[in-house]
Symmetry: C2
Subunit: 126 residues, 2 copies
């Protein structure tokens, strides 16, 4: 369990936590079928409130990264609903690429950066 929370960041704690868990899934730190710590447990580990963790878990459930039952808590179970996700990815990329274009970062540099991130982070590929 490596979850880094920056208490000085202006990003909401529950969003940082959600993003860190998504990163954990992509890097196979959390495997399909594995349970995440309970909301109370993880709250104690990080040192934040139970409800903040619960908010992150609820969001992860809505977005289709985990499924929840009362026996095992939040279980990694990615449902690959590409239709919804691809539109979200497109919107995010549109803004990110607009920024880079304004700053004279080339299209080729973006392609290189994508490959660098994939290789350095070791994102799982089917």
């Amino acid at each position: 369990m490596f979850i880094e929370i920056d208490f000085n960041s202006d990003e909401a704690l529950y969003l940082q936590l959600r993003n860190q868990i998504i990163l954990g899934i992509a890097t196979d730190q959390f495997h399909e079928g594995e349970s995440l710590p309970s909301v109370r447990n993880l709250a104690d580990i990080i040192g934040i409130n139970m409800h903040t963790v619960n908010k992150a878990y609820t969001l992860l459930k809505q977005e289709g990264y985990v499924k929840v039952d009362r026996r095992n808590g939040a279980v990694i179970a990615v449902d690959a609903n590409q239709a919804l996700t691809l539109e979200e990815i497109r919107r995010e990329l549109q803004v990110t690429l607009a920024k880079s274009s304004c700053k004279n970062i080339t299209r080729e540099e973006i392609h290189t950066l994508v490959d660098e991130i994939y290789d350095q982070m070791g994102y799982r590929e089917i």
Copy 2:
């Protein structure tokens, strides 16, 4: 001036406005040296408060997309400080690519998507 603000979005108005202007610069809708509308003028056009526009302009100034003087208001003047920007782009891409990886969107599909966005949006390339 095509600026679309979604009043039902959960994204803050001043951030939407800032992103739309960055998109406008990247698509050469706003050219280097051109002035943006005054804060009061744009506020009237969109139908929001002057301070909300001012907040977006101040942020754009801090991020190096415009420079401001009292004669001509907010003038498009991109300073290409790549060092700072590249780190920001990397952080944003890390999370976006983690999401897509979880949803079984392949690396090749991302590369294709990047090219699609560049071509469809017509982002300026040096």
